[in-house]
Symmetry: D2
Subunit: 311 residues, 4 copies
């Protein structure tokens, strides 16, 4: 009943996976993190994404974590699970397991070995066959991390050939033109509607993406209220207000998007905000220097000040 469908709008937060200081799964922090997101009125959650340290979990840990999240969410919002893996056997195993627990759908990015349009289309045709009829899935377009560039015609072809592909997580660069092209194709009836949530650089283009027809955001940021408030202002037709809010968060959002240390920045802030008990990142992973932490302190203080000014 809580399955993902093509009508979704709003904000899906990509969550971190909380660990204790000794590196074990921290289920109490997991609960707190779920509460934190739901209190902010997000539309859904996405777990085990790139920023969820999915590859650093054992299969058993993945199941335990997803189960905990689903139990805490208790059906209040849909939960999408990242299921990208080197082979279809692992994708099928994880998918069956999390769908049985109550996940709303899975998200899959293309493996970095794909190059041509034919290879990409063939991969997702096989994914469709692997997932079967009952599993709604999200096509993750993230060339920056996968190295795979999926042109608009290929994305339309994938949507056309897999009726269970209900959402595009859009992150290409330059993404605005592509987003416009896909939205126009949907509006003209060239392809059926899918939900388009954007994640470009952790939401770094959110106001412009909403103007181009994005249905919302699916991304991670230590202040998910930014995405929620920007989307709300935009939905209310207050475009300049949406920009004001966005601009207040932008200096920190930009800092959190640094390749390599972004996850450590995010966990540090979530820890400072009292959401997770430890900022621990499993190896191999980044650690913050004193200078990094000072940067964050300055940026959050400035952000608080600016938010007050525009309130």
């Amino acid at each position: 009943m809580n399955k993902l469908d093509a009508s979704v709008t709003g904000v899906y937060v990509i969550t971190v996976t909380p660990f204790t200081d000794s590196g074990a799964l921290d289920l109490a922090s997991t609960d707190r993190m779920v509460d934190f997101c739901l209190d902010l009125r997000v539309t859904g959650l996405t777990v085990l994404g790139i920023m969820g340290e999915a590859t650093k979990l054992t299969a058993e840990e993945s199941r335990v974590f997803v189960k905990q999240v689903l139990a805490r969410v208790a059906g209040r919002v849909p939960v999408v699970v990242g299921a990208s893996a080197p082979g279809f056997a692992s994708i099928r195993e994880l998918t069956e397991s999390v769908m049985a627990m109550g996940a709303a759908g899975v998200m899959v990015a293309p493996p970095s070995t794909l190059r041509t349009d034919e290879q990409i289309a063939a991969y997702f045709a096989l994914l469709d066959e692997t997932l079967g009829n009952g599993v709604p899935w999200v096509l993750q377009d993230h060339p920056w991390s996968t190295g795979v560039q999926m042109a608009t015609p290929v994305i339309l072809r994938i949507i056309e050939s897999s009726s269970t592909c209900v959402m595009l997580k859009h992150e290409d660069s330059p993404g605005l033109a592509k987003l416009s092209a896909i939205r126009v194709a949907i509006e003209r009836g060239q392809v059926r509607r899918v939900s388009i949530l954007t994640g470009n650089g952790g939401g770094l283009f959110l106001p412009e993406e909403l103007s181009r027809g994005a249905d919302g955001a699916m991304t991670g940021f230590a202040y998910p209220e930014m995405m929620v408030d920007v989307c709300a202002a935009h939905a209310a037709g207050r475009v300049d207000k949406a920009h004001d809010i966005f601009d207040a968060y932008l200096p920190l959002a930009r800092y959190e998007q640094q390749a390599g240390i972004g996850l450590a920045v995010r966990k540090h802030i979530l820890n400072q905000r009292g959401v997770i008990a430890s900022a621990f990142v499993r190896k191999p992973g980044p650690t913050l220097s004193a200078a990094d932490i000072a940067d964050i302190a300055r940026l959050t203080a400035r952000q608080t000040r600016r938010l007050t000014e525009i309130a």
Copy 2:
């Protein structure tokens, strides 16, 4: 007499190459662009960089353009010329030609085929040999476009083994830790001083980079006054003022840094500002949609307003 040396601080603007609407070199706009930059009190210019469409010029056009820039600058500031090329023969040819005209030095990035530390060090040893003693050069570290990751030890090794390497154009990501490490190595005397100018994402981390010991910026942005003013505020010890200025420009700077269309955005704004007569970008190259142009109009209007607020 105007040769680049390791003591440089300040802002080197990476210029565009102006064309007419029919795609020919526009030397009048070239003059105006030089004047525009010098009026903004930049410390130097860098031409024929990635954003200078260098690969789209014939060898003859490159020479004509550099000559025009040097004539207009007339020795008032140093001019660095991008000299990256697929082979050393071309690098030598262009270098000899532009140094004879009065360039201050050349800038070279590693070719995308390099992988190991040994290969990178060997490449720049050969470059040093190719350039010879009289040519100061800038090591361009730009993994995003070259795909080559140069770790700190390799950069130190290159500086150590080439006495004519006088500057690092720093653009790695995450760059702050690397910048700190190189600055510390210089301060401890592990390696001789080189100037470090940063370009990360078009200056998207400039305030933090200055705090880590960067000597300034070498990058392109349609509002070079941002770099000049941020550096000046920082040099005056007014760090929060530097952030205020930076934050006012950040929404547009972020927009201009979109992969793929950034150059078209920059030329469009420079054209709007009256600097260049045409926003023409040679093929293959991006064009802006009506929606892109509307985005830019909104962002520049908001920027003007915000700059007034903080003035």
Copy 3:
């Protein structure tokens, strides 16, 4: 007692994973394949390598397959298990599982995201820590599939810092100079001895590699007797004989090394030879055309003829 150590010489065959025509694990064929290899007097087996379709197996299937192989081998030769995975948690899980069953060691290749010498060394330091003291491991150097180039100094550094690294599976290109350099470093005592087995292009440089000091081969080929006989002739000082044998197999070995369809060629021949009941390759995977099959028929017939001539 059957743990891998640094003194190994000879031929380790990289086996396929046999499936039935419907794609299920074929344990009877697995037994036959083990017998086939041991009858050919190979020194060891390597399972779940790139050509073992490891990523297409579920975790449970991997365990079942390894268990079957180990039971059939019954301690007669050491069995190495490929354990490369996107994260250390999975590597640890699989390793613990297969070592408990009686595997002789594991083989790990660097993930494709590594670039600099520092990153590579750090990765294998973490691997050493992950595997712990009791697990001998093979460093797999296969730039062609991983995209990671490990220069000789890095390989020596890894050997030096992990006492349980007992073998190098050497496959770089050009590999002969690198093989010579590592062998010389061992002979000069710059680094402790590790076994060096080569796999360059499915053994396509075996005679030359043996002359440079390789201890043998670790690779897959539908005619493992080629590697066994070439190594034997070489060990007996009959270098030209080694070349004669090698040359007889080379046209087919070359054909089997075609990127993309090599595994299908190998399984087809193993099926023709009566070793495995089906040539089935799991998706995504290559299939052979009638023209491919005709090519193989011609090449195997010519090979048989040539082997008779030189017998």
Copy 4:
């Protein structure tokens, strides 16, 4: 009058660029090399390819070398010139220059930055526009060096949209299926005929490629007579004879195809054969060790012996 057209069959040898021991262009050796190839009855020559060290020549040296080759050939066979460059301005410049001198056409490979079908098609549409009507060109498909995978539909699209594309230099891997698919498309009239010459790994699949409908070979090898004789035997319907000849050369051809040192091997042999006065390779480039040279001596001696046996 000697322009390349779509009816070409036979062998185009990709030549080296001969240097003196001090690294200067060696025009006397250039003449000898031309004579050597023409005496072997090759159908055409290709100069300034990847193995022609094109990127290590100045623009002026390129012109001098091409002029010398054309003068010596004196219209007896067509000469194709490699014109791949980072930008269209350079491609146009070189093309105009060599066509004016009498070249038969140019060869262009896609730049390594291209990924999607759309990007590839757009690149070659722009190339077509750049070259103009009078310049026949060869589409070079060499994913191994360019990293660009051009699927069959894209190649057909390029042929369809550029009437001056008269030849495909086919080198993909696995190439046989692709070669068959393109040949079938031509036979069925889905696309107009282009000549297909193959170069897979320096001709390492030549007999099979001829069976699939290749029109001949365009590749480099220190024994061009291999390609000439294999093609002749095949054209005469003596397929097994073609394989016999091929197999005799295969051990050396394989050795010459080692990534990284292949060019040094080829120049060494051409020097030994008296064709070029020096085996000098410009930096950055490989050098041969004593062990490499001993390998080559053994392989050439064995090749001579085997050729006698099958004569």
